[in-house]
């Protein structure tokens, strides 16, 4: 039965494109991690009134590249009492979970690696696999710090998935779709339905900043803040970095990792930062749509809406959010565990519920 039809070749070349896209996304994740680590060091240096890396390359720009070269050469140390399989596989699972999330994210009009009509739900599901990888790393390391870090991380991610999920739902109720590309298209001049700024001013042909989800329904600003705070917790970023609190747990779940294993954990962390920022941008901040509105004859929005501008806008907005994440990390002190849970269950979750309710009312009466 193994006979090839001409149509099979067509599908084969299709699959080749899929592989190329996947490789491209991986390259992007790796490059972004290199850039992210450099940016993080420079931003932290600026905030703490230091210089940061200056020696390697112009302004130290080759520093992270040198670091990764060093890391690749290093020995992969597996502790004698560790569960070898779990220990080695864990960083891969952590990274792959984040990396698979990129498959559904839209980069521009008609430009999305995998067009699935429940894309948002898929991303949400895939991210939850990361927890499993972290638990695997913690258990596999056979180290008390690692296990404590892993358990804290899992507890934190599971708790904060709830306010994040509700914030996402309140945006989805406005958008009425789980397809990230549909959600994106709705927030600009390419939209096929009428968009109303704050529910009263028709801005369908004006577009720009005014048609972003946070301005279509102002309570989504609160939802966005809730989502952003929860995404910090899900990415284990400060002020929610108790899973790797270096003053108490050495380095948390990745204490025992060296060389490539550590590199993968790092790659996953920075990819995760970009991933959660990009989801936030797609859901609340207009995705690949331009912030510039049409003003009379000056069709700024029409001029700046196409594939290339789309990639540019979505990248700029996501990078800006990543920048805010870094700024927060070097500004705010770490939360205690009880404060963490209080914030999640007593502040964010009720607020997110309120957002869902308002979304329902908004959809029924104002749209």
């Amino acid at each position: 039965m193994l006979s090839l039809h001409p149509s099979d070749f067509w599908t084969l070349s299709n699959y080749l494109i899929y592989f190329l896209v996947a490789a491209g996304l991986f390259a992007f994740a790796a490059l972004f991690a290199l850039f992210g680590v450099y940016a993080e060091r420079k931003i932290s240096a600026y905030i703490q009134d230091r210089l940061g890396p200056t020696e390697t390359g112009k302004f130290g720009s080759l520093q992270t590249f040198a670091d990764i070269l060093k890391m690749v050469q290093k020995e992969l140390i597996i502790p004698a009492k560790a569960d070898k399989w779990l220990f080695v596989l864990a960083p891969v699972i952590i990274f792959v979970a984040v990396y698979m999330g990129f498959a559904a994210l839209p980069w521009g009009p008609g430009l999305v690696p995998s067009k699935i009509n429940i894309g948002l739900y898929y991303v949400f599901a895939i991210i939850s696999i990361e927890t499993l990888g972290i638990l695997m790393a913690g258990w596999g390391s056979n180290n008390k710090y690692s296990i404590l870090g892993a358990m804290r991380s899992a507890a934190q991610i599971i708790s904060y998935e709830i306010p994040a999920g509700f914030a996402i739902i309140s945006a989805v109720m406005i958008a009425q779709s789980l397809d990230l590309q549909v959600i994106s298209t709705q927030q600009g001049v390419a939209s096929t339905e009428t968009i109303k700024f704050f529910g009263f001013w028709d801005v369908t042909h004006i577009g720009g900043l005014l048609s972003w989800n946070i301005f279509r329904a102002p309570h989504l600003i609160i939802a966005f803040v809730i989502y952003f705070i929860s995404s910090l917790a899900e990415a284990n970023r400060a002020p929610f970095d108790i899973p790797e609190a270096e003053s108490e747990l050495v380095a948390g779940f990745h204490t025992e990792y060296s060389g490539l294993g550590f590199a993968f954990v790092f790659l996953a962390e920075y990819s995760m930062m970009f991933l959660v920022s990009m989801i936030g941008v797609v859901l609340f901040l207009g995705a690949w749509n331009t912030p510039l509105p049409n003003i009379g004859a000056l069709k700024l929005a029409d001029w700046t809406t196409n594939i290339w501008w789309g990639i540019f806008w979505v990248a700029i907005k996501s990078l800006a959010l990543v920048g805010v994440q870094m700024w927060i990390r070097w500004t705010l002190p770490r939360l205690r565990v009880d404060q963490l849970m209080n914030l999640c269950w007593k502040v964010l979750t009720p607020l997110a519920f309120a957002c869902i309710l308002i979304s329902g009312v908004w959809r029924l009466w104002l749209m």
């Binding site: 099979d8 779990l86 009509n117 429940i118 599901a125 939850s128 696999i129 499993l132 258990w139 599971i158």
Partner: protein, 182 residues
């Protein structure tokens, strides 16, 4: 279609192989992680059956929720308990395993007979649906269908399940509360 068939057999093999490992392995924690592979392969099979919503729900609920909770209980229970479980004698045929074996064999027989007698491809309603074109297409949007049905035809079961979950939550809260003195 051929690729779909190949995918199906690969996924089925992965699901069965990992499930066997889960059942046979003496290392409980590894079994749990292997169970993750089984669940993932099952999710893949759902996708092949065009039930992508079910597939993703499977990942959210089982991988993101239940597996993580199982792991939590493992990590809270400590090494000694786990070691005790691992030191059980493991002969293939063992009096302790008799109920499990009987159950498994009976279940297999039931499944086999059902599969033989049902003759899935020749069912009347399937034929009618195919003739009328009342089938799910790969590019169809399922989620609205699911939402509308949950809120209309299946509203009562849906609400009953939410009450069940509520009862479980209240029970858990009650059990974990500290005993009041006097």
């Amino acid at each position: 279609m051929m690729l779909v068939k190949i995918m199906f057999y690969i996924l089925a093999a992965v699901a069965l192989g990992s499930a066997l490992f889960v059942a046979a392995s003496k290392n409980l924690v590894r079994s749990v992680f292997m169970f993750f592979v089984t669940l993932f392969a099952l999710a893949g099979l759902y996708v092949l059956a065009l039930a992508d919503f079910v597939a993703i729900t499977q990942i959210v609920i089982y991988v993101g929720g239940i597996l993580v909770l199982i792991l939590f209980t493992f990590m809270l229970s400590g090494r000694e308990t786990l070691d005790a479980i691992q030191q059980q004698k493991s002969k293939l045929i063992n009096l302790n395993k008799l109920p499990a074996i009987v159950l498994a064999v009976l279940f297999f027989v039931v499944m086999f007979i059902v599969l033989r007698q049902a003759d899935v491809n020749e069912l009347d309603w399937v034929k009618v649906a195919v003739a009328e074109g009342n089938v799910i297409k790969p590019d169809g949007i399922q989620i609205e269908n699911i939402g509308v049905n949950l809120m209309t035809s299946y509203l009562l079961p849906f609400e009953v399940i939410s009450i069940l979950l509520m009862i479980a939550l209240i029970g858990a809260a009650h059990l974990s509360r500290k005993e009041q003195e006097a």
